[in-house]
């Protein structure tokens, strides 16, 4: 499958991974400098897993995500400036400053929303798949969630419903080995991917989630299966976050082993993919450097946009609470 991918497609994959990396590195700095209120959760280290899944979807396909929230819309093709403006709380933000980092959504690229509640958006993706099925529009939905959410009950309600109705949905578990400080293996009985067997749906474990091609191939197979009416799949991708759970978080306990960390840091998905593209003579170092430079400029532009944009008008606290203006008796 991956052998059929065009050069443009593979370079776009690298571009999106670099976008996530540089966007999140900038966001991390901005949190530390007080330029972003609150905190953010970066996808640094998980770019291959995010982009591999997003690019296996079509532009019109749906996606939901979680608190590790910037990579998903970026992976789906969302422009950076409105995302950055949202992180800062500006009127030009993708959610008009009402959502913030945890609740990014860009319906123009099928991003139906990230969620600050672990597991909470899995039923939303399942419902989007239900509407695809009933409206017969060929769209597929993908729910991103972590190893922590794999222990929420709504995942299993979703898998059961999607299984009986053969809904075109992919449950994509981003297993980065830790739910905040808690090692996944200490709170997870068995293997997450194996849980699919109970619902008689495919359960695939991608051991090397740092490899774009491996993630892409697994998700593409599930997408094609979903689109042809055969129903849902569960995919568990093993990966690692390079940063702390959230930026600025300082814990007294170092819950991650230093050797483990070093091992994973050596498996940087962007470096690995760059090496692959050069080795296979798909792209030159110069071409890849040019991508990096242009994304650097894009992120700089997004930052400038976030700084120069106005804050939202605070005069209507009810804006968009309902589809019609909300009248308060006064």
């Amino acid at each position: 499958m991956s052998s059929q991918l065009s050069k443009e497609f593979l370079l776009e994959a690298q571009r999106r991974m670099v976008r996530i990396r540089l966007f999140d590195e900038r966001a991390s700095k901005m949190v530390k400098r007080g330029q972003i209120p609150g905190t953010v959760h970066t996808s640094i280290g998980q770019e291959a897993q995010v982009v591999g899944a997003c690019m296996a979807l079509g532009d019109q396909d749906y996606m939901t995500g979680n608190h590790r929230s910037h990579g998903h819309p970026i992976g789906k093709g969302s422009p950076l400036s409105p995302l950055m403006a949202e992180l800062v709380g500006k009127a030009t933000g993708v959610c008009k400053g009402r959502g913030g980092s945890l609740h990014l959504a860009d319906f123009s690229v099928g991003s139906l929303g990230e969620s600050g509640i672990v597991g909470s958006s899995i039923p939303i993706a399942t419902g989007a798949a239900l509407s695809s099925k009933i409206l017969n529009n060929g769209k597929v939905a993908l729910a991103f969630f972590g190893d922590g959410a794999a222990n929420q009950g709504n995942l299993y309600e979703s898998m059961n419903l999607a299984g009986i109705w053969k809904l075109p949905v992919i449950f994509l578990c981003e297993n980065n080995l830790y739910a905040l400080s808690t090692p996944a293996h200490t709170v997870t009985s068995g293997v997450i991917a194996s849980r699919a067997a109970g619902f008689d749906i495919p359960g695939i474990r991608v051991e090397n989630g740092q490899n774009f091609i491996e993630v892409f191939d697994a998700v593409k197979t599930a997408v094609e299966r979903a689109r042809s009416g055969e129903g849902p799949s569960l995919i568990e991708v093993v990966t690692y976050r390079f940063n702390e759970h959230s930026e600025g978080l300082r814990l007294g306990v170092d819950y991650r082993d230093q050797n483990e960390k070093a091992e994973w840091l050596a498996k940087d998905p962007i470096v690995l993919f760059r090496d692959y593209l050069i080795q296979e003579s798909i792209a030159t170092a110069e071409e890849l450097d040019a991508i990096f430079a242009s994304v650097e400029a894009e992120v700089e532009e997004a930052f400038e946009f976030s700084q120069s944009s106005p804050f939202p008008d605070a005069s209507d606290p009810y804006l968009n609470l309902y589809t019609e203006p909300f009248e308060v008796y006064a």
């Binding site: 749906y62 009402r98 139906l112 909470s120 509407s131 609470l321 008796y329």
Partner: protein
């Protein structure tokens, strides 16, 4: 043309109208194929003409597993992507299993995503109170949901209101929870057979009066009317007002009535603390203080769990006797104007 319909029959009629009018309307819920609760069929027999499964097919009549969280969440996701789901959650106490989806997704997504989402979905549930079903089935939980901005809450108290309000709810682009009172299920009256819509946020005066306003909610409405009839025999002229929808609330209609009568009793089958009655009382105290000639009185269900035994349950809810007694006590302490 009008015909006699029960409260439950009127709900079925509104569902059929909406299903006929718009292909995007689907019904999701437990036991909806078999018409167990009597709103997805024409008669008792599966083969009866008008049975929803026969009329609309399995693609639009979706029998679900007993999994409230995914029923509610999937309906929300479907509503965000082009369908207009009508969800039958049967008992109101089952809504709690889906609380995360109601509070964190359905109520918040449109606001939080800057208006990108609209969520046209209706959640029906029935309050089986007063029927000896015990503590797990007797809940009247609408006040809990009134405290969640982003939801609309309706509580029809007659067959005509049930049909017109449910139709408006289905055609509304926002999420609506409709709480149906089982004690009203058998209530029958002449109902317009053609399509009609009752706007959300507009109450109804059931009986005009000059001495006291009784605002009544859901199953307390017919009890308030009976209380007013009793009071009339004593020469007390009570006005009965049903807000019909709690979010949005027709507070103007309530204040207009209180301005006329100067006295207010609110009858609400919910538990007292933070009830709809509490909110209405507060709004009237804030906005119509000058018109009041006596303290406001709430007639609600005490803040205790609902017991099973018939000897213990029935008298807990507002009834004609307790509502009339409250009205008399308000009139007794009333100051001369």
């Amino acid at each position: 043309m009008k015909s006699v319909m029960s409260y439950l029959g009127a709900i079925g009629a509104a569902q059929r109208e909406a299903m006929d009018a718009d292909e995007r309307v689907i019904i999701i819920g437990e036991d909806v194929e078999a018409n167990v609760y009597g709103t997805t069929g024409a008669g008792k027999a599966r083969a009866a003409e008008g049975d929803f499964l026969q009329r609309y097919g399995k693609n639009r009549i979706r029998n679900t597993p007993i999994s409230e969280e995914i029923i509610v969440g999937a309906a929300a996701g479907a509503a965000m992507t082009g369908l207009r789901p009508l969800v039958d959650l049967s008992y109101s106490s089952f809504t709690y299993l889906a609380m995360d989806q109601f509070v964190n997704q359905i109520a918040k997504n449109r606001f939080m995503f800057g208006g990108q989402a609209s969520i046209p979905v209706v959640f029906r549930s029935a309050m089986f109170y007063g029927l000896n079903t015990g503590a797990h089935h007797s809940d009247r939980p609408y006040p809990m949901y009134m405290n969640v901005p982003g939801l609309k809450i309706i509580t029809p108290a007659s067959p005509s209101d049930a049909k017109g309000l449910l139709r408006s709810a289905i055609d509304c682009d926002d999420p609506v929870l409709i709480f149906e009172a089982c004690p009203l299920w058998p209530m029958k009256e002449e109902v317009e057979e053609d399509e009609y819509w009752i706007p959300l946020g507009v109450g109804r005066t059931l009986r005009e009066g000059t001495d006291i306003t009784i605002v009544a909610i859901s199953g307390a409405v017919p009890e308030a009317v009976a209380a007013a009839e009793e009071l009339a025999k004593e020469g007390i002229s009570a006005e009965v007002f049903d807000p019909r929808t709690l979010v949005p609330m027709d507070i103007e209609g309530i204040i207009k009535s209180v301005t006329k009568t100067g006295r207010l009793v609110v009858a609400d089958p919910a538990h007292q603390t933070c009830s709809a009655a509490s909110e209405i009382s507060a709004l009237v105290a804030e906005h119509a203080w000058d018109s009041l000639t006596a303290p406001i009185k709430r007639v609600t269900t005490p803040d205790t769990q609902i017991p099973f035994s018939p000897a213990l349950e029935k008298h807990l809810y507002p009834n004609r006797l307790s509502i009339a007694a409250a009205a008399r006590s308000v009139l007794k302490v009333s100051q001369p104007v």
